[in-house]
Symmetry: C2
Subunit: 196 residues, 2 copies
């Protein structure tokens, strides 16, 4: 049985999983790494969480809040500029190593999700959160007359999210520099094409 | 020391790793799973390959050939139609479970590559191969006067590859149906926009 952990424990677990995932990646992650990154022993982690996957789920559920905190710092004069800065932030991670590591870790979890049912719902919620974040700006840009009325905010948001996820693999994971500059150039051209 | 394995052994290892990755995913993959999927014992695998990563690298090096075999079956009357069918094939895997499983497995390896130097070069070659495959069709479509002369084949190919990788996570990994139809619609619109 999984006991309900207090909020302070949940927050500490989320931070410890994030830190351990950034260091080891999901495939090499052991519960001992999570314990080492927290003030808790492995035994006390297992008091609240039965499996490693449940510990990782705590991190995935917390991730949207961290993304929001990072996005909140963005300064932009209109929704188009804001959307571009959000994409830059998620894609090239603005030399923010913690965000960079978190985005790669989530891509690794996403690509393993078919084999791990515990992670599926938190990951879907995370993806929906990112998509919603992008759709909100696209909708605002349409309302403000910056983007064409015929643009579909949901389809465009799903498409952009997909690009950001894909680039996480080649650009952040493999550090293929050519891909980074190509994707930057073509994504900007794509966003230019949304304008009236 | 890693001994040079004969071609028949390499091919068998590549097929066994593919099959084991499709069943377990990279994070849960053990060398015993690879041995179970082949005619070899774990000990005889270790005669040629020192580590699990080296076995996986054999699969990644083989993957472009499998992609090519699949792409070769595509019937199209012009490069634009051919490009769309290649994207469909890689993105939605055409109900081909082996291709589907292989694409997810490679995304999982890609997102763990920062932690596994052995896989980096084979993965970069795989990504370059896919990008080249797409760039060839885009270049042909420009030469045939179907796409605009101003289109940059390399940037467009990197962008498309990135979309295909990203969609592998949400569409194939998490099976988010909404994302599949959104990405299909918006990618077709994007490809329409390349035309003269």
């Amino acid at each position: 049985m999984t006991r309900n952990a207090p909020i302070t424990t949940r927050n500490e677990v989320a931070r410890a999983v994030r830190s351990a995932l950034i260091t080891y990646g999901y495939a090499d992650l052991r519960t001992a790494h999570i314990a080492d990154a927290s003030s808790k022993s492995e035994a006390s982690l297992y008091y609240y969480y039965e499996t490693k996957s449940e510990l990782i789920a705590v991190f995935v559920r917390r991730a949207p809040t961290w993304i929001d905190e990072r996005i909140k710092e963005i300064d932009a004069t209109n929704p188009d500029e804001r959307l571009r800065k959000i994409c830059d932030c998620l894609l090239f991670a603005d030399e923010d190593d913690q965000l960079y590591g978190m985005r790669i870790a989530i891509l690794e979890l996403l690509s393993h999700a078919a084999h791990n049912p515990t992670l599926q719902e938190p990951l879907e919620n995370y993806q929906d959160h990112i998509r919603e974040l992008l759709a909100t700006e696209i909708q605002a840009a349409i309302s403000d007359g910056i983007y064409r009325q015929t643009i579909n905010p949901e389809e465009t948001a799903s498409f952009l999210m997909t690009i950001l996820d894909g680039a996480t693999g080649s650009v952040l994971g493999l550090e293929m520099q050519g891909i980074e500059s190509d994707v930057r150039a073509e994504m900007n051209r794509y966003l230019d094409g949304l304008a009236v």
